[in-house]
């Protein structure tokens, strides 16, 4: 099986967020970058497990500038066979999806893996877009997946529970917690990653339909109002007459 895993680079979860250029760009000063956790822990590891069980190749793909190579090399160190980086500063979800789809068509993959969302823009759109461009079935928020020949049985999160579906290859999915367990790259993996192929390709021309006009920070939270632990009547009154939630 040929497996493609789409990975992105995101600011670490604990990053303090601020903006520059008149609030139109993220202030990247001091920001620590990581591989998007859903891509790394769940999508990539599940792809590697499938390869280990049934053979095949795992290719990582990333849309971004040369700075992203550290994140890509980490994916190779965890166990991917090779990588493709589409060399561009990036753009909207649609822009990124078009770049990935273009390469994915060439590779004729059996499965394309995404994380359920990136932890920076929380868009959760690219997987569905690429699936549509490749005319593949798409299963979002997959938490469990078993293969039997060319048929996958997948559990996916829905409101208040889960749905179990069956789908034949080729297909695309987005990975959520439960699909696999995080793997830490070992020394051998890190050494081998240096020699694995990382193919840098030129982007295709895509005009963006969506752009960020500006960013704002949420209004500062009012200070917490403390209520005496003995006086729950007061809390209930406040929830009723002040917060108006009960």
């Amino acid at each position: 099986m040929k497996l493609l895993v789409c990975v992105s680079k995101t600011p670490d979860t604990t990053t303090k967020i601020s903006f520059t250029d008149n609030d139109t760009a993220l202030n990247t000063q001091g920001v620590q970058y990581i591989m998007n956790p859903y891509d790394e822990w769940y999508a990539l590891v599940r792809a590697l497990e499938l390869k280990e069980a049934a053979g095949g190749t795992v290719t990582i793909i990333n849309v971004g500038p040369a700075d992203n190579d550290t994140v890509i090399r980490k994916g190779l160190a965890i166990g991917a066979d090779d990588a493709i980086r589409i060399d561009t500063a990036g753009g909207s979800a649609y822009f990124v999806a078009r770049q990935i789809a273009e390469q994915a068509k060439v590779g004729a993959y059996d499965m394309v893996f995404f994380g359920k969302e990136t932890i920076d823009y929380n868009g959760s759109q690219i997987g569905a877009m690429v699936a549509e461009m490749l005319e593949m079935p798409f299963i979002s928020y997959a938490t469990k997946m078993d293969m039997n020949g060319n048929t996958a049985t997948i559990a996916r999160d829905i409101e208040g529970g889960q749905e179990i579906v069956e789908v034949d290859t080729p297909f695309a999915l987005s990975a959520a917690k439960g699909l696999a367990e995080q793997r830490i790259p070992n020394m051998r993996g890190i050494m081998m990653a240096k020699r694995k192929p990382l193919n840098v390709v030129a982007p295709i021309e895509v005009s963006d339909k969506v752009s960020v006009a500006s960013y704002t920070l949420p209004p500062a939270k009012q200070d917490c109002r403390y209520i005496d632990a003995e006086n729950m009547d007061e809390l209930v009154n406040l929830l009723h007459s002040e917060a108006k939630v009960i």
Binding site: P137, D157, V167, K221, V245
Partner: protein, 317 residues
Amino acid sequence: MVLVYTSSPEGQLKKSAFEAVTFGHKTAQQLGTEVVALTIGNVNNAGVLGQYGAAKVLNVAGADSFDSGSHAAIIAQVANQIGANVVVMPDDSTGKSLLGRVAVRLDAGSVSSVKSVPDTGAGFVVQKNVFSGKAIAAYNISSDKKVLSIAGNTFPPEVVGADVAVEAASVDVPANRVRVKEVNTVKGTVPLPEAELVVSAGRGMKDPGNWGIIDELAEILGATTACSRPVADVGWRPHHEHVGQTGVAIRPNLYIAIGISGAIQHLAGVNQSKTIVVINKDPEAPFFKAADYGIVGDLFDVVPRLNEAIKKFKAAN
């Protein structure tokens, strides 16, 4: 024209459908046009969508189980038939796999989890939370067609009209390639993403056998229960209750956090709640910084007392 796709798990329209039509109605008013609602499959009482502003309700029969591929094809055909410039859908488990597909089919710009009615003063600008709630981005969509999914619990349903008749839409219904085998959902409670009141507990509970006071609180409030990640990881609580960055992201009117420290990854999933109450015995717990109301105390004393106070309040009101 504004087209609103409404999801209807097991044939039932939910609050998310009424929210989406309310959003669609407000958007249509701004654009000086009308809103048409679309239901797919066998749906009970779809005419009720007229109450939330739908001028017309269309139904496509014969695609009862969910497959984003065939559903996206249906939505795009209907959008083209009625000449929709804006397509709206809920940001739920259906919207998350449909939004991108419909956008590609219609060659439309798309934004997910929108939290503001479009500002059409200069362009077409919608707001969305980014960086897990740590910032808000205003997106401008420049294409003729726009596809939006809207954040849950953000646009309260507003009744503005009366039931309308449901008309059948005639489109090609492609065969499903995803075969739904089972749907396992909790019955009798509101699913977390839709819940207005949420009672959540964490490792401070010490033992799964101690959850009785939490269940009681949820029951007397009519709230849905949630939990922190470690509690779900060790199997004290079911996986679907886990909220936070890696779990479900929610925005209820009231979130009561009991014995949860308030780690940044937990807050990422709950910081959009309108009112947050924190019960924790550690006055230094980070959660108090995100709280509206805080109670420093032992949860095993405080929660039973809170339960009594709510019972008293409910009896009097």
